[in-house]
């Protein structure tokens, strides 16, 4: 049994150590601009984990993950401006998104919506939020000291502070380390959840809902929990994004963000946690580099790469690379267990 536990945590342990090394060495080895750029990747990695978990380990394909991302950003912005601190608003944003996901999930799962219908509902709800926030430009749309600002967005959102130093805004390097620590913690917690009894039932639901119900599990309740966890993580990422940008506008709810999240998961590998993070890093870095060239429209190049990626590597980047390593290892006479999710 111990060896099984060790196998389960081998890959996750490696990812955690890698994450800790990045947390320590990036601020030392890279300049300010690069640290800021990497902070953005960290936030987006947390965002992608929200979909990677509910889709890859619960079988819930949400086309509207940007809804939680945006809601987290707005709730954090309003709460932080009113409260003059960031720790409690961060927790409020996470809680609000979890509750919103639970309410939405209740109607979807207890209303027996599945597959494409569930995707359509999540997408439509996100677009409603986008439309709604866009129409809050008037002076009457004010919550305490925070004006929602409609299409102009909310400026001057407070930069995050450390919980034990509420009056002192974080430096960029500190912010990178703080966000990276959150990303590592969420990754480890999700990994533990996947390996727990709850996680195994969730995977069974992904595999076959009816069969799981026949074994005595309340499938709708499990799906509600999975979806709420995804909502909470998406909300946390949104709050971090708002604080990182010190600005949030309705485009955070846009279809572009939901689509990007799906693409990152698909490119990195559905059914893994580390793969979608690789997807974020690879595609965002590529997009950034292409954006610096003026030879050709970078969206055309990126789109072409994505088509080839889906056609040639349908499992995604990380699972393909992992399978390749396992194959080479076996050819050399080694034996291996299953890798990390």
């Amino acid at each position: 049994m111990l060896s099984k536990v060790s196998k389960d945590w081998l890959g996750a342990g490696f990812v955690t150590v890698l994450g800790l090394a990045i947390l320590i060495f990036v601020p030392i080895l890279f300049d300010l601009f690069e640290v800021l750029q990497m902070t953005k990747y960290v936030v987006l990695s947390l965002f992608v984990l929200s979909l990677a978990y509910i889709w890859g380990f619960g079988g819930i394909l949400s086309f509207g993950q940007a809804g939680f991302f945006g809601l987290g950003g707005y709730v954090f912005a309003v709460a932080a401006i009113n409260m003059g601190q960031t720790t409690v608003p961060f927790l409020i944003a996470i809680g609000a998104c979890a509750l919103f996901a639970a309410a939405l999930g209740y109607f979807m799962f207890y209303g027996r919506l599945n597959d494409v219908y569930l995707g359509v509902v999540t997408l439509v709800v996100t677009l409603i939020l986008w439309k709604l926030i866009n129409h809050t430009a008037g002076p009457e749309y004010i919550i305490g000291k925070a004006r929602l600002g409609g299409f102009n967005g909310i400026p001057s959102i407070p930069i995050m502070t450390l919980p034990w130093r509420p009056g002192q805004e974080m430096e960029p390097a500190q912010m990178f380390q703080y966000f990276m620590a959150i990303l590592i913690a969420v990754y480890v917690l999700l990994h533990a959840l996947i390996k727990s009894k709850f996680g195994r039932v969730a995977i069974s639901i992904r595999e076959n809902e009816v069969r799981t119900g026949l074994l005595g599990y309340d499938v709708r309740f499990y799906k509600l929990c999975i979806f709420s966890i995804g909502g909470a993580i998406g909300g946390a990422a949104g709050a971090m994004w708002a604080s990182y940008q010190t600005f949030v506008d309705p485009n955070i709810f846009s279809l572009e963000w939901s689509a990007k999240c799906l693409i990152w998961v698909m490119a990195g590998g559905v059914g893994t946690l580390f793969g979608p993070i690789v997807g974020v890093l690879a595609l965002e870095y590529l997009s950034f580099q292409l954006g610096q060239t003026e030879l050709i429209n970078n969206l055309i190049v990126l789109g072409t790469i994505l088509i080839f990626l889906v056609l040639l590597l349908p499992k995604g980047l990380f699972p393909t690379a992992r399978d390749l390593v396992v194959k080479v290892w076996r050819r050399r006479g080694g034996s291996t267990g299953k890798g990390s999710p």
Binding site: K197, I203, S204, V210, R211, G213, L215, G216, Y217
Partner: protein
Amino acid sequence: MALLEIQDLKAAYGHVPILHKIDMHVEQGEFVGVLGHNGMGKTTLMRAIMGFVTTTGGNIKFQDKEIRRLPTYRRARMGMSLVPQGREIFPNLTVLENLTVGVLGKKGSLDRIDEMLEFFPRLSPLLDRRGGALSGGEQQILAIARCLCNHPSFILLDEPTEGVQPSIIHEISDVLKELQAKQNLTIVLVEQNLDFILGLASRVYTISRGVLDTEIPLENIKDSAMVAEYLGFGT
């Protein structure tokens, strides 16, 4: 008092009625067979008893409680279990993970898996193999073992011999006999394989065009003309 009592049960897929009149009872510890041709409603009956086909009338009583409106998972928690046609194991989970899901939330889960592996030693060397990589017979054994992991008191078996090699059919038959004898399990078996039913069941119902209300005496099952008559195909 019967463990399962069904009266005038009706079920439909949308607006299409499939089961018109089901009347049957099963006593504690009995092994009851249900015989019927393809398309007569056998699988729908199993699904209706477990609660994932819409029933439109009648009663289903289990342990003297009306369960027709209970969701599937509540019925499963009362001790009912179904091994569906086509196995429906989790193909991307390993054999061990398939069994583990079967006992989650139960005390002594690992002991129960060991117990199942003693009953089905064929599964022991396959624990790390994905369910989808097993043969049809091995998948059937896994489906039965996983169902038993949940400590059910009442099992519905939907055509367990379909597409399974004879040696494994014998193995399944022997284990079911042993389990029923040792654990006083109540089993309802839907089959087209007459020999399999004859070897196990103490009573056999026939179902024809969504109607089940007739028992066929065991001695008449080997007489194909009699069976055809019971199934509504007699001349």
